[in-house]
């Protein structure tokens, strides 16, 4: 009984301790600016989200996302300008297609579909940025730690 109790509390503590690692790629022209706006409007979202600035969503190589999961990321989100608004006119169309493919492949190898996401956030949508991030982090919390793809060498 007491043993079980201690195990339970340990598990609970571990669950409370666990902080997801979330990588957000944001295109420089819309989403990064949207994130800035979320900041200047003081619209909070969890600190687990760390943003990497890229010129355009189409700059994100699937390798970057695989690398993130390999290094223990629990979720990866990719934000770009709304379709039709890409600063480079067509970049986000490539992103959309490329990521559909990548995400279904990730799903196939066991990284749940909900751990990856593409969202369109414009420079004016600070509120939307914060909502999207809150949403995404809540989802990752539901899914728990990502254990499927990890570089075993790193764990040792």
């Amino acid at each position: 009984m007491s043993v079980n109790d201690t195990v339970d509390t340990a598990v609970n503590a571990a669950a409370k301790e666990w902080k997801p690692k979330i990588v957000a790629f944001c295109c420089n022209w819309c989403s990064y600016a949207g994130a800035d706006l979320a900041g200047s409007s003081r619209l909070s979202y969890p600190a687990d989200v760390k943003i990497i600035r890229v010129p355009c969503s189409c700059r994100v190589n699937p390798m970057f996302i695989l690398k993130a999961f390999e290094r223990g990321a629990d979720g990866v989100i990719l934000c770009g300008c709304h379709p039709g608004d890409c600063h480079y006119s067509t970049g986000n169309y490539y992103t959309r297609r490329r990521m559909t493919l990548l995400f279904s492949m990730l799903d196939y190898i066991g990284v749940e579909r909900e751990r990856t996401r593409v969202e369109w956030v414009s420079a004016a949508e600070g509120a939307r940025f914060s909502k999207v991030m809150n949403d995404f982090v809540a989802k990752i919390h539901e899914l728990g730690e990502n254990v499927k793809v990890g570089d075993l060498r790193c764990k040792q």
């Binding site: 800035d36 900041g39 600190a47 355009c56 700059r59 970057f64 290094r71």
Partner: protein
């Protein structure tokens, strides 16, 4: 050996209140490569920048990270400071610990932790930065204006006034565009050609302007500062420099079946014609589909009567090739095809006309000499019904979802002019809303409704049909909430306007983006309204969105000033964060070329020394002046040869790793 300096800004209490600055500094000091870390209250201030400059000099820093506000705010500031201290400005990275951290997190522990991670990622990135140098490209001091309507003319005049040569390419035989077809202009009711023709003459006589009429741009290559264009000058079969515009050929030409485009097809013109009396250039042109000589070899009357010997049936299309520093799109608009709206019987009843047709009927130089007559029987009408928003604000898919902006005003103008000239004519106007947000516009509309007794009916028309020689209009009056049936003599449709059909082709050629309605997209809807997102391409007039004449003219001037600003420069600096390909890895597959939105990638065969093995290979070459640095090519490259400077694969990977540590 890296020597990285980290500078942490408090931003007063903006950052310091939620981020433990000391901890970030301490953490920074233990990062690999970091030799110096310091905090200050306001890094962007003069004193803060001096801290950075001094440290660069004292420690011989090879790269710096500034943990501060968004790079969109002060990246340029810190880059400049770095370069003043002798460090390449692209060896600077910013960790955004204000907008992305301190401002959104309340918990100091959480905020500090995140700030440390962001700092770590920036340090990881900066150790992989390479010094970059902004390139330079030349500026050809000549501009091209595509379209010779009022927008194109005004843009060209303004550019020419600043002393730069301009070419206007107009697809029709004369410049003047839609404005030349108008009778009067709102809200002042001055005659359209009286204000337009002097400008046309000015364009013709200005020594900096070259008019290339009856011509189309066929090919454009190059980039901002040095575009190359190939222009097809269609055969007119009349020598432009010889024809005196006397018009004798027009009166003698036996083929008189061609529809007069200038009069919207309301009457006919001969096969050899001058579009209208004030045409510039005032030179005849032969319609090759109508000319008997060109089609059957017989006739040749015009050649016989031409005393100037200007006719040349053997003329061929000519090509002009020229270089330009900037290109202005002024392709204009046309009214949509009203026959799509069958309920108004436009295609079956002659007395249902569009507003532009009415404009010609009202014009003294038009088919009726300016007398208002019914097209069907040439009788004087006693009642006219105007229907607004034909095809505008239409989400059914038949028309256009947008408001064409000018229709409310020109309908008020037509109604007022008719009531003024023919007080016996009853005028009814069906409208959804009357939109008059311009200087003196609402006063104008009210004058039509109040002073001239124009009957404005709020509601739409369901059907128009012909009955016993007159027209019947069935509509609703939304205010009285009843159906109304009107007997009338003429119906005028205020048709929506759409971009000229050539706009799409031209935009594709220039890689200027267009929206779903084929209007050209501006670089920023508010802050850069006359530029296209493609550098060096500018927008003038309705090709960007519906607008009236004053707006068109002001936009034309704005576009011209942007062009002048560009042409004044001797050299352009290019963004150094561009793609480049590793010759050793490139296999010449062309994948990158296909995704490049700027046509910046080409191929060449190079002699490659691959670890001692010499061979010639087809490899990709990036034109650094054209590349805008989106990175699309880097991802499609199957061999990993393409990379983006400033955002290289390694750099981004390093950031990912630092975040996931």
């Amino acid at each position: 050996m890296h020597k990285i300096g980290v500078f942490v800004c408090w931003c007063g209490s903006n950052i310091a209140a939620t981020v433990d600055i000391d901890r970030v500094v301490a953490e920074a000091k233990v990062q690999p490569g970091v030799v110096f870390a310091k905090d200050y209250q306001y890094m962007c201030s003069e004193a803060g920048q001096n801290i950075i400059k001094d440290a660069i000099k004292e420690y011989g820093l090879t790269g710096i990270v500034v943990c501060s506000c968004s790079p969109r705010m002060h990246e340029a500031t810190f880059r400049k400071a770095a370069s003043q201290a002798g460090l390449n400005p692209f060896m600077v990275e910013i960790a955004n610990i204000r907008e992305h951290c301190s401002w959104i997190h309340k918990d100091k522990e959480e905020g500090t932790e995140k700030a440390c991670v962001l700092m770590r990622a920036a340090v990881a990135k900066v150790t992989l930065n390479t010094p970059l140098k902004a390139g330079e490209s030349k500026v050809v001091k000549r501009a091209l204006v595509i379209g010779g309507g009022i927008a194109g003319i005004q843009t060209a005049l303004d550019i020419a006034d600043a002393g730069f040569p301009v070419d206007i390419v107009e697809k029709n035989a004369t410049i003047g565009g839609r404005m030349a077809q108008l009778d009067k202009t709102f809200p002042t009711l001055d005659c359209s050609s009286c204000i337009l023709t002097p400008k046309m003459v000015e364009a013709k006589s200005n020594e900096n302007i070259r008019l290339i009429t009856y011509a189309e741009v066929e090919e454009v290559s190059g980039f901002v500062g040095s575009f190359k264009a190939k222009i097809r000058k269609k055969a007119r079969y009349v020598k432009e420099d010889v024809c005196t515009g006397c018009g004798v050929c027009m009166s003698k030409c036996p083929s008189k079946k061609g529809l007069n485009e200038f009069n919207m097809g309301l009457n006919n013109r001969p096969a050899i014609y001058i579009p209208f009396a004030q045409a510039i250039p005032n030179v005849a042109v032969i319609d090759s589909t109508q000319c008997i000589k060109l089609n059957t070899g017989k006739c040749g009357l015009c050649e016989k009567v031409c005393t100037a010997k200007a006719i040349d049936y053997t003329q061929q299309d000519e090509f002009i090739e020229e270089e330009y520093g900037a290109i202005v799109m002024a392709t204009g608009f046309r009214p949509i095809d009203a026959s799509k709206f069958d309920e108004y019987s436009y295609s079956t009843c002659k007395d249902v006309v569009t507003s532009l047709e009415l404009e010609r009927i009202m014009n003294a130089a038009g088919p009726t000499g300016g007398v208002l007559l019914r097209p069907s029987d040439g009788k004087h009408p006693h009642s006219i019904v105007f229907i607004q928003c034909v095809g505008s604000r239409d989400v059914s898919g038949r028309g256009k979802p947008y408001c064409s902006k000018i229709c409310c005003m020109y309908t008020a103008k037509h109604a007022m002019l008719i009531r003024d000239k023919y007080p016996d004519v009853e005028v009814h106007v069906f409208y959804i809303d009357v939109r008059t947000p311009g200087k003196n516009f609402d006063e104008f509309y009210r004058r039509a409704a109040e002073q001239y007794d124009v009957d404005y009916i709020k509601g739409q028309v369901g059907k128009v049909w012909e009955e016993d020689g007159h027209l019947v209009v069935r509509g609703v009056d939304l205010i009285a909430n009843e159906q109304i049936i009107l007997n009338t003599d003429m119906v005028v449709l205020a048709t929506a306007i759409e971009p000229d059909p050539t706009a799409r082709k031209v935009a594709n050629m220039l890689t200027a983006s267009i929206d779903t309605n084929d209007f050209i997209t501006e670089a920023h809807p508010k802050l850069r309204p006359v530029e296209s997102p493609t550098a060096g391409i500018f927008l003038s007039g309705v090709c960007q969105g519906p607008k009236d004449i004053p707006e068109t003219v002001s936009q034309a001037g704005a576009a011209a000033s942007k062009v002048i600003g560009l042409l004044c420069k001797d050299k352009l600096t290019t963004n150094p964060c561009v793609a480049h390909s590793d010759e050793l890895l490139c296999n010449g597959c062309s994948c990158c070329e296909k995704v490049c939105p700027y046509g910046a990638i080409s191929y060449d065969t190079h002699l490659i020394n691959d670890h001692g093995v010499k061979e010639t290979r087809r490899v990709a070459l990036v034109n650094e002046a054209l590349c805008q640095g989106c990175g699309a090519c880097t991802v499609v490259c199957p061999s990993g040869a393409m990379d983006l400077k400033g955002f290289s694969n390694k750099q981004i990977m390093a950031e990912v790793e630092a975040i996931c540590l």
